[in-house]
């Protein structure tokens, strides 16, 4: 292992990890929007302790009130809305309920109802606005402004980069190979995770294959621009193309020697992590990748 690579890996995990980015943005919000967060926390606390207007709502809140930390809920909501700028209540509620404890044993619609009420109540303060009415689904629009230093990271977060050091051993089905990025080795919904045998040793074999980018290729060949039916499709393609090049730049600057980490789906099929640069990407993305370990090929006489 190259001497400085471990710290470089930690730095890149911080830079592109959604999990770590959320933590950093939360810390930043706590400074920059302290009065608004405080007001929202107080308002939410008051709301939780105000008798509900109908009995079933009160019963529902009674079950959960002991587990709800108003400050955490406000921070989570603020962080989510500030990162995404604009999202529907359905999207926001779906993200909020991922943090609700499973021991509530509450049906999903009741959890979503509770999350939506909390999000709506926080929206009365000055962190974000909830637009609703006219038969449209409620939309949360951020009133917070994040500094530019987060913009690129928000765009690229959520799909961890290949690693700059050989991935860590996979000790359990909840280890990922990364130093600080948690998660399940079984892809898909949270229902898919289990602690049974998933042949982690094969994932480790795959994780051990060092790769690099083919610089000649990257300098000469760009992705083929497809025909777009909408402006949105074109923008998405351009963003992905740009992001891929940004990540390629980072990987090259870091020495152009990296490792993919793999996970399985419920049937055992294996998938490399990462979105922009991935051996399972389109032809251009496949073509830019080669083995770091080069070998000579003899030309037949």
């Amino acid at each position: 292992m190259r001497v400085t690579d471990y710290s470089l890996q930690e730095m890149y995990e911080r830079k592109y990890s959604e999990y770590l980015l959320r933590k950093e943005i939360s810390d930043w919000l706590e400074d920059a929007y302290a009065p608004q967060l405080e007001a929202a926390t107080q308002a939410l606390t008051d709301w939780l302790h105000t008798p509900a207007t109908y009995a079933s709502k009160q019963d529902r809140l009674n079950k959960v009130i002991a587990d709800l930390e108003p400050r955490e809920l406000v921070l989570k909501a603020a962080c989510m809305v500030s990162m995404q700028g604009r999202l529907t209540m359905q999207q926001a509620a779906a993200q909020m309920i991922t943090g609700f404890p499973s021991h509530w044993g509450m049906p999903v619609p009741d959890m979503v109802r509770t999350a939506s009420e909390i999000l709506a109540r926080i929206g009365w303060e000055d962190l974000y606005t909830v637009e609703y009415g006219g038969g449209q689904e409620p939309v949360l629009i951020s009133d917070m402004e994040l500094p530019a230093m987060f913009a690129e990271r928000i765009q690229l977060a959520g799909h961890p980069l290949p690693m700059l050091i050989e991935p860590e051993p996979l000790q359990s089905n909840r280890s990922t190979g990364y130093i600080n990025i948690p998660g399940s080795l079984i892809l898909g919904s949270r229902h898919n995770h289990h602690e049974g045998e998933i042949c982690r040793s094969v994932l480790e074999i795959q994780n051990s294959v060092g790769m690099k980018l083919n610089l000649d290729f990257l300098m000469k060949v760009d992705d083929i621009r497809p025909t777009f039916e909408t402006q949105e499709q074109e923008t998405q393609w351009e963003n992905l193309n740009k992001d891929t090049k940004l990540i390629a730049r980072d990987l090259i600057k870091a020495g152009n020697w990296f490792w993919f980490t793999y996970r399985v789906d419920t049937r055992g099929r294996m998938y490399a992590r990462g979105y922009q640069i991935n051996p399972q990407g389109n032809s251009w993305r496949k073509a830019m990748l080669e083995l770091h370990r080069e070998q000579h090929v003899e030309i037949d006489p």
Binding site: M89, R121, Y132, G133, I205, V209, T266, Q280, E290, H296
Partner: protein, 408 residues
């Protein structure tokens, strides 16, 4: 099996990515040789321009005497159908998917198109010609239990649809019967379908049902919205087992490939020495086969007759049965006869340095041969509550081992 040099694999890669993927290996090599001096000028007409460009760059690097890390790629011929032909012991379906040597580049979709058009002709419908594209889409999805796609392509209740299903029964009776059995294996009371592969991998596939709820938010003046969500719950009928079981088998094949190709030479040599010593002691009578059937790690072997080297990670060699050790020794010998090969795989697509492609092709066929000789499907169906499955043939192993186009 026809083997090739690394240089030939590199030439083949360029030809395949340009336009020659449906040709024989020899034709592809010849195409690249014929065009070797001006491969760059053919860039604009390549079917896969990026992958063609990178193959040509690698060729030029090799010609300049430089080492390369370029990956060459081979994938299974109609992977799903190919594996189902092995699992069901169907020689004709195996032939269509490259597992029987035939001196031609196999293409199951072309064969199925031909069979369907012949049946249409026989039925007095010579005026109806099914294209390869139509047949491909319908065949691919039908073997994963879709009825909607064939209906969309050939029409509901039409003679063409009848002919399509007849051609499946005629050309691939084993896989087609398997699809129907796997659809019936769906358990309407289960919240997950679970089975264990011979190497211990536990496939646990929860049954997720999509539901919707109307959410009214008092704090937004009673505004409501629809929330869609998945929940784990039993489902009366499901088609996904056909695809899921076959995908679990292609994943098993891929795992065996990674273990056997990208192996640790010190570990493999140590295992080889220990197994050789143990077998020798048993022949000499100084030790005995003392395995106990109750060992959980023997379950896969006892039920299917399949084993892979990962069993050596956690079992004591002296406690394993002799016939299993002999099988393991063969696997180790094959691996150790060549250098480790780094693999990059996408399910049934195998990529490696050109120096390793002979080993990739050899071992892939070997693993499929092992499955053909074994009782994998019997075991998987028994685990899913459908005992008594009998495959059409149990003697395809060696035919598969001597084929050339399992991967192409």
């Amino acid at each position: 099996m026809k083997t090739f040099t690394a240089w030939q694999y590199l030439l083949m890669e360029a030809a395949t990515q340009h336009s020659q993927g449906k040709e024989t290996f020899e034709t592809r090599i010849q195409w690249a040789k014929d065009n070797l001096h001006h491969l760059e000028s053919l860039q604009d007409t390549a079917e896969e321009p990026a992958l063609y460009a990178v193959a040509v760059m690698a060729i030029r690097k090799v010609q300049a005497g430089k080492p390369i890390g370029t990956l060459v790629s081979m994938d299974a011929v109609c992977s799903g159908l190919q594996l189902m032909s092995v699992l069901s012991g169907d020689l004709n379906a195996a032939r269509m998917t490259g597992l029987v040597d035939s001196n031609r580049r196999p293409d199951a979709y072309t064969d199925m198109t031909g069979a369907m058009n012949k049946l249409l002709q026989k039925a007095g419908m010579a005026h109806v010609a099914v294209s390869r594209g139509e047949a491909k889409e319908a065949v691919m999805t039908a073997f994963y239990a879709s009825t909607a796609v064939p209906k969309r392509i050939f029409g509901e209740g039409t003679q063409e649809l009848d002919v399509f299903y007849k051609s499946l029964e005629q050309e691939a009776p084993g896989p087609w019967a398997l699809v129907k059995i796997l659809v019936k294996a769906w358990n309407p009371k289960a919240t997950a379908h679970c089975w264990v592969m011979p190497d211990g991998f536990e496939a646990v596939v929860p049954v997720e049902v999509m539901d919707t709820a109307r959410i009214e938010v008092e704090e937004l003046d009673g505004t409501s919205f629809t929330y869609r969500y998945a929940q784990v719950a039993p489902l009366k009928k499901g088609l996904s087992l056909a695809a899921n079981v076959v995908h679990s088998v292609d994943a098993y094949v891929a795992r065996c490939m990674h273990r056997r190709l990208n192996y640790n030479p010190w570990q493999f040599k140590a295992w080889e020495a220990k197994i050789t010593e143990t077998l020798l002691e048993r022949v000499l009578g100084t030790s005995h086969d003392i395995y106990e059937e109750s060992h959980t790690f023997l379950s896969g072997w006892l039920h299917t007759g399949l084993v892979d080297v990962n069993i050596l990670d956690y079992a004591k060699i002296e406690q394993l049965p002799t016939d299993m050790l002999q099988r393991l020794l063969k696997i180790l010998h094959r691996s150790l006869a060549d250098f480790p090969v780094q693999l990059v795989t996408v399910h049934d697509d195998y990529k490696c340095h050109p120096n390793g492609m002979n080993r990739v092709r050899e071992e892939y066929k070997e693993i499929l041969g092992e499955i053909a000789d074994a009782d994998l499907m019997e075991d998987l169906l028994e685990q899913l509550g459908v005992p008594g499955y009998k495959k059409l043939s149990r003697s395809m192993g060696n035919i598969i081992r001597s084929s050339s186009y399992a991967l192409t």
